[in-house]
Symmetry: C2
Subunit: 81 residues, 2 copies
């Protein structure tokens, strides 16, 4: 069993209203030093098999096909174990 | 300026309908080897100052106060640079 973590973040320059809301809320709670906040998502996958390289290639295909919107997002794959 | 990444994931045992939907969709697209998928979120913060330890403590406070729901979620803080 292989565990992979996919981290999907907005590309720089893409507007992030959720991040802006977090910035505003943190300011409202008295956290003064926050210059910016941007929100992304993380997907933890458990994959059958034991070939890490094959798993990474498979996860990249999943990202292109479904997990990430590569027009506005970029993804990063980490094989955890 | 300090950059911090907060990764927020559901605690084990907490139902994750979004993750289940991803599992189902990946299966539907022909990705057969996915044993499980769980979705979390990531928040990238830029913080003023240069004291990394103070920044980490501050971000932990933000997680407890706003970013994470510690009843069902756990958070991990990484100071990136």
């Amino acid at each position: 069993m292989i565990r992979a973590r996919v981290t999907i973040t907005l590309k720089p320059g893409v507007l992030d209203p959720q991040g802006k809301a977090i910035e505003g809320a943190l300011g409202g709670l008295g956290f003064a030093g926050v210059a910016s906040a941007r929100q992304g998502k993380v997907i933890d996958l458990k994959l059958e098999g034991s070939d890490r390289q094959a798993a990474e290639a498979e996860v990249a295909k999943m990202c292109e096909a479904l997990l990430a919107n590569t027009v506005v997002e970029r993804y990063q794959i980490a094989i955890v174990d």
